[in-house]
């Protein structure tokens, strides 16, 4: 009995637990660099970013230096941040929202949470790359393309549309990644343009034509470079990144097919929260993202297309923005992803 009552506790474990409990009880809050969120009068702005630090860091740094103002960033999945903004409502500490995918910022705008951007900002981006109601602007673009190995395929052999990849001569030579977000966004766009029936037929024909399954875009690109397959459906910047890293001899090229949404442009975009108490600063931040040095940072680091008027794409992007076929004209509505996944499952692609 005495023994039982006097059992020694594990000193390290008990000390750790006690200390941790004391700390969490007191709220061991770290000072965020830009002062407390939601407190007016502090100088910094708060950004919710669906894009990772490496993709926006240079542009944020430039703004911080130029404006002498801190930017505190919450990084998370774009859709999660959109849902968070909706729950926070007017209490949101965020001043601006940088979205990786097009659907999310539309949803936040439709919830009435984004303010209308000033005319000078809207004028910096061509109309086809911004919200018709002026609540957000595109910052960069990611194009869906056909990548191919130039040692195995001549440009003239490529079909004018991804629909042509179901022809017998492409049997077993084409890679795709049905599970990737970008492929699913592309299929959603196909459904919007051509209807479910035609899209399903294409998916089934691709499978029947022995399209090779990959987990993601990078794996497709590397398989094309190794010559395991001759072509694949991927996002343009994966190829540009490899060209920038490996040099001009890199054997993979991108092809912007003019038909069949073969060069669909998906936008990353930014908006300013209506609840922000630092709208002027947030607008200044958006403006800075569209200025030449930031646009150059985006295209140099991620190889995405800069969308501001007059911005020059990175040299590894061999096709200028103006020469990319304007495949949609309208913005892609990506609110049908669930139905897309169902369709892809029915067709056997997932």
């Amino acid at each position: 009995m005495k023994e039982l009552l006097r059992q020694r506790r594990h000193p390290l474990a008990v000390a750790t637990l006690t200390a941790a409990l004391a700390l969490s009880g007191c709220g061991f809050d770290t000072e965020s660099s830009g002062g407390g969120p939601g407190e007016p009068g502090t100088d910094g702005i708060t950004l919710y970013s669906g894009r990772i630090p490496a993709a926006i860091g240079g542009a944020v740094d430039r703004y911080e230096a130029a404006a002498d103002r801190d930017v505190s960033v919450r990084y998370a999945d774009t859709a999660d941040l959109a849902a968070t903004l909706v729950e926070e409502g007017d209490a949101s500490p965020a001043d601006a929202f940088f979205a990786q995918e097009p659907g999310a910022i539309g949803a936040v705008a439709d919830a009435g949470l984004l303010t209308r951007l000033s005319a000078d900002i809207l004028a910096m981006v061509p109309a086809r790359y911004r919200d018709p109601r002026g609540r957000w602007v595109g910052v960069t673009g990611r194009a869906r393309v056909i990548a191919y190995n130039r040692e195995a395929v001549r440009r003239a052999e490529l079909p004018p549309s991804p629909f042509g990849l179901t022809a017998p001569e492409w049997r077993g030579r084409v890679g795709w990644a049905p599970a990737s977000d970008s492929m699913q966004e592309y299929v959603t766009a196909l459904r919007g343009r051509y209807g479910d029936e035609r899209t399903r037929e294409w998916l089934e024909a691709m499978i029947a034509n022995d399209a090779v399954d990959f987990p993601d875009n990078v794996a497709i690109r590397d398989a094309i470079a190794r010559g395991e397959i001759d072509a694949g459906l991927i996002n343009h910047y994966y190829v540009a990144q490899a060209i920038a890293a490996e040099g001009e001899d890199y054997p993979v090229e991108v092809y912007f097919a003019p038909e069949g949404l073969g060069s669909l442009m998906l936008l990353t975009s930014v908006g300013v929260l209506d609840s922000s108490e630092r709208k002027a600063e947030a607008l200044e931040f958006v403006r800075s993202l569209l200025e030449a040095p930031s646009q150059e940072f985006f295209t140099t680091s991620s190889k995405e297309y800069p969308l501001a008027r007059g911005a020059e794409p990175d040299p590894s992007l061999r096709v200028p923005l103006a020469e990319i076929p304007n495949v949609s004209g309208e913005l892609v509505e990506l609110e049908q992803l669930q139905a897309t996944i169902e369709l892809m499952q029915e067709a056997g692609a997932l």
């Binding site: 009995m1 039982l4 009552l5 506790r9 594990h10 390290l12 474990a13 750790t16 637990l17 006690t18 941790a20 409990l21 969490s24 009880g25 709220g27 061991f28 809050d29 770290t30 965020s32 660099s33 830009g34 969120p37 708060t46 990772i52 630090p53 490496a54 505190s72 960033v73 919450r74 998370a76 999945d77 859709a79 999660d80 849902a83 968070t84 909706v86 729950e87 926070e88 209490a91 500490p93 659907g103 999310a104 949803a107 439709d110 919830a111 599970a179 090779v212 399954d213 990959f214 987990p215 990078v218 794996a219 398989a223 609110e335 049908q336 992803l337 669930q338 996944i341 499952q345 997932l350």
Partner: protein, 522 residues
């Protein structure tokens, strides 16, 4: 558990407070569907989502059965036999728990997926697909079986060998003894551990999405990602809460009112290990296969990436150490808070069974059945409206992680309490101690193996948690898990290897601590 006394008011109050915090995520879901729950559920449960729910439950059942099938032999071999190096095997076989299932899944895809490392190495055209039910079953089983193993080993150590000796003296063979004497004493922990595995599978999103298994959580994700339909997502989440209650009922049936504490006087005599003899070779082979597939393979892939990543420049070691500090702080906070909260809930449920205490225990599980992002959104919802100063603080993050992982601590603590005879407590009362004193000086120390196991499980999971951490952490507060996410979401797999390895190293601390301590427990 012969005499049920009413619980002291302070314990009831503590239990109710814990339960109230734990049901916040569920309350949020019901608030969003606001009144039209019936309609919302009807909308949510179409024939298609019902089919997906059935498949998800099928996966949960398969994974749970497999986890028990792995944990039972490993636990028995490492506690009750003369398996060579059994303490090392005990640690090694628990280590897969430190691998986040989303990391495990992408490592498996990289190693075994189409055009992955194995296929390259073998030079074959095609491997059996890692995607779908099979892959999800494999990966989730391998990374969740320690949830059964950890409490199981504790229970095996606390088993009174006298019962077995008596059974053997009466002429029963070893298998019959195991079936009729040992197994009945293990049901409570197997049921509790199995419940944790099943709920983990039901609420997991990271692994199933990478392995392309169309699970119910994916349905929730798609509902708010594609259409930003809060109501649809919330009503699907409410379905998960109902599923969780069903699984809880099932689990409590399995461990209903069994007397598993010792009735006789005297101290627990250490059990004499079974001699394996020739069987030690297959036993060793079994442990080796489990450790190789569930731990060494993923770690080998990470080490390979780390060696590639060092040349291409990745997360620096000093930065990784700072991230590790943040991860440790938050996880230890959640572990401590979780252990205290779970002790109150478990003491109430085990020592003072009543309608109310049963309700408190079930309610405390509500946050575990839901995907982390829904837990986070619920706290965003309540904190911005009711407690703005708490919003975007580490405290709220710690509370969120505690709510999410509370049942991980309740299971082992309840199992430990079940094995402590209430007579000891009664004796202490008889010697003049107050109830609070008895709880502090008798109950808590006796259950401390379970408390530490519970705290360790919360620590490990809090360390690995991602979606809720990304949303609830204060601005600029990064952890190892968020850094891994940052790197992998952009395809920098090599760069993620160092934070991932450090995460494994920090998470391995409680695993070592528990296994080391295990040797000293009577």
């Amino acid at each position: 558990m012969t005499a049920t006394r009413p619980a002291p008011p302070w314990l009831t109050a503590a239990g109710l407070l814990v339960a109230a915090a734990a049901v916040l995520p569920a309350a949020y879901l019901f608030f969003v569907v606001a009144g039209d729950l019936g309609d919302a559920l009807a909308d949510a449960l179409t024939s298609r989502t019902a089919g997906i729910l059935a498949r998800t439950l099928g996966l949960a059942a398969a994974v749970t059965a497999t986890a028990v099938a792995i944990a039972l032999p490993v636990g028995w071999l490492t506690v009750r036999t003369d398996l060579p190096g059994r303490r090392v095997w005990a640690v090694l076989c628990t280590l897969p728990l430190v691998i986040p299932s989303y990391v495990g899944a992408y490592l498996f895809v990289a190693a075994l997926g189409p055009n992955g490392m194995l296929q390259d190495a073998l030079g074959v055209e095609r491997l059996p697909s890692i995607y779908g039910f099979g892959g999800a079953w494999l990966v989730l089983s391998l990374f969740t079986y320690p949830l059964v193993l950890l409490p199981l080993r504790g229970a095996l150590r606390r088993i009174d060998p006298q019962l077995e000796d008596a059974a053997r003296a009466m002429g029963r063979g070893p298998l019959a003894v195991f079936r009729t004497v040992v197994m009945p004493q293990l049901w409570p922990v197997l049921a509790a551990g199995g419940l944790l595995v099943a709920l983990y599978v039901v609420s997991d999103f990271g692994a199933v999405s990478l392995l392309r298994f169309d699970s119910f959580t994916r349905e929730i994700y798609v509902a708010y990602k594609s259409s930003f339909d809060r109501t649809a997502a919330a009503s699907l989440g409410a379905v998960l809460v109902l599923v969780m209650f069903g699984l809880l009922l099932l689990s409590s049936r399995l461990r209903s009112a069994k007397v598993v504490h010792r009735l006789g006087p005297g101290a627990l005599r250490p059990a004499r290990p079974y001699r394996l003899g020739r069987w030690r070779w297959p036993a060793l082979a079994f442990c080796a296969v489990v450790v190789s597939v569930a731990f060494l393979l993923p770690v080998a892939v990470l080490l390979y990436w780390a060696s590639e990543g060092i040349s291409t420049g990745s997360t620096s070691l000093s930065r990784a150490a700072a991230l590790g500090g943040n991860s440790f702080l938050v996880s230890a906070g959640a572990a401590a808070l979780g252990a205290v909260a779970a002790l109150a809930v478990a003491a109430l449920a085990v020592r003072h069974p009543s309608r109310l205490s049963g309700l408190v225990e079930r309610a405390s599980h509500a946050g575990y059945a839901l995907p982390g992002i829904l837990v986070a959104l619920a706290l965003v919802f309540f904190a911005t409206r009711l407690a703005p100063p708490l919003y975007q603080t580490t405290s709220l993050l710690v509370i969120g992680l505690t709510i999410h992982y509370l049942p991980l601590a309740i299971g082992p603590i309840a199992a430990a309490l079940l094995q402590v005879s209430p007579r000891i407590e009664e004796a202490a009362r008889g010697l003049g101690r107050s109830r609070a004193d008895v709880f502090r000086t008798v109950t808590a120390p006796l259950a401390r193996g379970g408390v530490l196991a519970g705290a360790a499980l919360v620590f490990l999971h809090a360390m690995k948690e991602l979606p809720a951490t990304l949303i609830l952490a204060p601005l600029g507060f990064e952890t190892l898990a968020t850094d891994i996410w940052t790197q992998t979401s952009f395809g920098f797999y090599e760069a993620s290897a160092i934070p991932a390895l450090l995460l494994l190293a920090v998470a391995a601390i409680p695993v070592f601590l528990l296994s080391e301590r295990g040797a000293a427990v009577p």
